[in-house]
């Protein structure tokens, strides 16, 4: 028999995780469907479950001087309507699922689910988000790309839960988000793209690209990005063909029911090209 526990506060939740193995469930919008059973029957959870969604302690958005701290059980819909949430993240959330799902879904759930097509992961990679993993003994602050290590694979330990997501505050000149999906709502991305650039005195001082659904994890390559820093915008734009060749090496999509390799790769490259051309 699997056990189900609803902790009253964070400390109780951490104690449960410390003493026994539990699977964490937040809003349930992924897990309830992944473990779906026949109608009228509870889902087929094969591990003990711990329900965190109602922990008020984990529902907050705090703006500090250099960063935004988001409590892990804050719903996507709350973030969408919050003044302090960066516009890029709002642009992404707006195209995720639908209001009814967004009222339950969380960034933490998207991270722990670790889907290569998780939309909110793309801006989180782009903005250097940190994930705070809490256990009874410690808090670990890890960059998001160190948390997600493969499709559906994370480094989150059995005794840990995602407590907070920390997003550094940026002052980009321009950000862009493009989701390619079958329809505008309730679609899983075929390809997704986020770009950000900072231009000072006609020079590129910051350039970032993140791509979703075209590799095992979200793609972001800091060494490529560094090559273009301090470059004049004119010179940078002339390098578009080289940039595309660079990124082509990283983009390794799969064929599935939503799309195919060739389409995904070409569209991803087109989106990079379009973003740079329009700077």
């Amino acid at each position: 028999m699997v056990k189900h526990v609803i902790p009253k506060n964070l400390q109780e939740a951490l104690n449960y995780l410390y003493t026994s193995d539990y699977h964490v469930i937040a809003g349930g919008t992924d897990l309830m469907i992944q473990k779906r059973n026949s109608s009228d029957l509870p889902p087929l959870f094969n591990s003990n479950m711990i329900y965190l969604f109602n922990l008020e302690e984990l529902k907050y958005v705090i703006k500090e001087e250099t960063q935004l701290r988001i409590g892990s059980m804050t719903s996507l819909e709350t973030l969408l309507h919050h003044d302090d949430v960066p516009q890029l993240l709002k642009d992404v959330i707006k195209e995720m699922a639908s209001p009814g799902i967004r009222n339950m879904a969380t960034l933490a759930g998207n991270i722990a689910n670790a889907s290569p097509a998780g939309d909110s992961l793309v801006p989180l990679y782009l903005m250097d988000a940190l994930v705070v993993l809490s256990s009874v003994n410690q808090n670990r602050y890890l960059p998001i790309e160190k948390v997600i290590i493969g499709p559906r694979k994370t480094v989150i330990q059995n005794n840990e839960l995602i407590k907070e997501i920390v997003i550094p505050i940026h002052n980009f000149t321009k950000t862009s988000w493009v989701k390619v999906g079958g329809r505008q709502a309730d679609a899983i991305s075929k390809v997704s793209f986020a770009g950000a650039v900072t231009i000072e005195d006609d020079h590129v001082t910051d350039f970032r690209i993140a791509l979703g659904a075209v590799y095992m994890t979200i793609i972001r390559n800091r060494s490529f990005e560094k090559m273009y820093k301090k470059m004049s915008l004119k010179k940078f734009k002339k390098l578009i063909p080289d940039i595309l060749i660079q990124y082509q090496e990283l983009i390794k999509p799969i064929d599935d029911q939503r799309s195919n390799k060739l389409y995904r790769q070409q569209v991803a490259l087109n989106l990079i090209k379009d973003f740079i051309e329009k700077i």
């Binding site: 469907i33 509870p42 009814g100």
Partner: protein, 155 residues
């Protein structure tokens, strides 16, 4: 034991906390307004209000509504806002076969709660998680506009 408020009444249940709210509503309370369409959060036929906001009861574990307030279409039907929305749906032909209608009404109520004077675009976003295969949506959008105008002050 999970306690919550259902259509204004305090209720308590001793059930598997992972049970889908949809099954609980239909089987234990005989509330059949919320329906199972897709069973995976895409069609909105199972929509109910959680503390005034739309949620899809087919992917909502009972544990997540502990101490919260749930209103189904049956509970909502006793309000003036429902009357305003229902007559606007009739007037504009926003309901044909009717299977999406309870969910659409819940989506409209959730939207108007937050935004009493929505634009057409905002209405389309508000009902974007609810599928309708009869009306082509235009008549539903119009009905929600009509309800917002005629029911001015209710939201």
């Amino acid at each position: 034991m999970i306690k919550f408020k259902l259509n204004g009444k305090d209720v308590e249940l001793n059930l598997d906390p992972s049970s889908r709210l949809l099954d609980v509503l239909r089987n234990y309370f005989n509330l059949t307004g919320p329906k199972e369409g897709c069973g995976e959060g895409e069609c909105g036929a199972c929509a109910v209000l959680l503390d005034g906001h739309i949620v899809h009861s087919c992917c909502l574990p009972l544990a997540n509504i502990a101490e919260k307030e749930i209103v189904t279409i049956e509970g909502f039907s006793k309000t003036k806002r429902y009357q305003a929305l229902a007559s606007a749906m009739l007037e504009e032909g926003g309901s044909q076969c009717g299977i999406c209608t309870p969910g659409m009404m819940i989506a409209a109520e959730s939207l108007l709660n937050q935004n009493p004077k929505p634009s057409d675009e905002e209405i389309r976003i508000g009902i974007s998680g609810n599928l309708c295969r009869c009306t082509g949506y235009n008549m539903i959008v119009k009905a929600i506009q009509t309800a917002a105008k005629k029911g001015d002050g209710l939201w």
